[in-house]
Amino acid sequence: MASMRSIWRTKRVRILVPGLRRGIALICLSVGIVGVSYGAAATAAGFPAWVPVLTAGAVLAASSEFLFLGILAGGGSPVAAVAAGLLVNARHLTYGLAAADVIEPGWRRIAGTHLMSDETVVLALAQPDRGRRRAAYWAAGAGIAVCWPGGALAGALLGRAAHGTGLAGPGALGLDAVFPAAIMALVLPALRDDRRARRAALAGTAVALAVTPFVPAGLPELLALAGLAAAGRPPWFRRQPRKPWFTRRPTDPGAA
C-alpha cells in the first residue's frame, strides 16, 4: 500500500512539467503579493490582524474578501457584506459544474472543493487530459491555500509598514494586471480551438462590460452567460422543419 502511494505521488509530480510548475509558482507568487496587500489594507481599515487571515483561510476567494471587508469597513451591514461576497462567488457554481471530473470523489472532495477558484479551474481546464488537470488543480490549489492566507498574515503583521512602503499597493508595480493577464493567457487556447466557445465568450464579455457600471460586483460575470445564446443554436433547440403546404392533407388542422 505504501509503495503504491509513493508511485502515484511520483507520477503526479512528473506530470507537472517544468513549464507548468513555473506557471503555478508565478500564480502562487502573485496571489501571495495580493495577499500581503489584502492583509495590510484590512489592518489599515481597523480590523484586527486575525480577521484577514480568517477570511483568507475560510473563504479562499480574494475578490469576495476584499468586497466583504470593504463593505464592513464602510459601515455597511454584515448581511450586505455576506450577500455581496456570495454574489461575487456565485461563479464558482459554474466552475464546479464544469470541472467536476477534476475533483475526485470520496473524502478528498472536501479539500478539493475548497481549493476551487478562478486560478485552479482555469489552469485545470487548460490541460489536455484528466491526469494533468488533476495534478495542475491540486498543485495550484495547495500553493494558493498556503500563499493567500500566508500573504494575508504577512500583510496584516506588516500592517502600516507595508502600506507606507507602497508594498501594499499593487498599482506602482503593475501587479493588478497580473490576474487578468494570467486568466486570459490560460483561457486563450480554449478560445482558439473552439469556435462556438469563442463566439459565446466574446458576446458574453460584451454583455459583462456593458453592465458593469450598473450592477453589483459579481453580476457582470454571471450575466456573461447570456453569451451562450450567441454560440449558435444547440442541437436540442432545433425545431422540426415545417412541412411544405402542398404535402399537407386537406384534413390537416393547418398551423404546425
Binding site: L93, Y95, D118, L125, G174, L175, A177, P180, V187, A197
Partner: protein, 110 residues
Amino acid sequence: MAAPASDLTVTVAALALAAGTFALRLAGPLLRARVTVPPRVQRLLADAAVVVLTALAATSAVTTGHGFAGPARPAGVAVAAVLAARRAPFAVVVLAAAGTTALLRLLLGG
C-alpha cells in the same frame, strides 16, 4: 483606530460567507455525481466556464468597481494578450503585463 465591526459580528459574517461559498463550490460536483450529464450538456458547461472566465479577465482588466480602470492596466493586459496569442511562455506574458502597466503608470501617471 476602532474596528469597524465587533469581533463576533465579523467572525459570524466571515464564517457565513465561507459556508455559502463552500456550498456554491460543492453544488457542481455534487450534482454531477448524482445526475448523468449528456455530452452536449457537458460541452455547454465547459463553454459556460470559458465564457465566465473570459468575461472575468476582461472586467478585471478594464474596470475597477463600477468604472474604468485607467489606460495603464488594459494596455498591459493587451500587450500580454498579443504575446499569449503568439504562444509566448506564461512567465513572459505575466511579467510583460505587469511591466507594461507599471511603465505606463510611470509615464502617464494613471
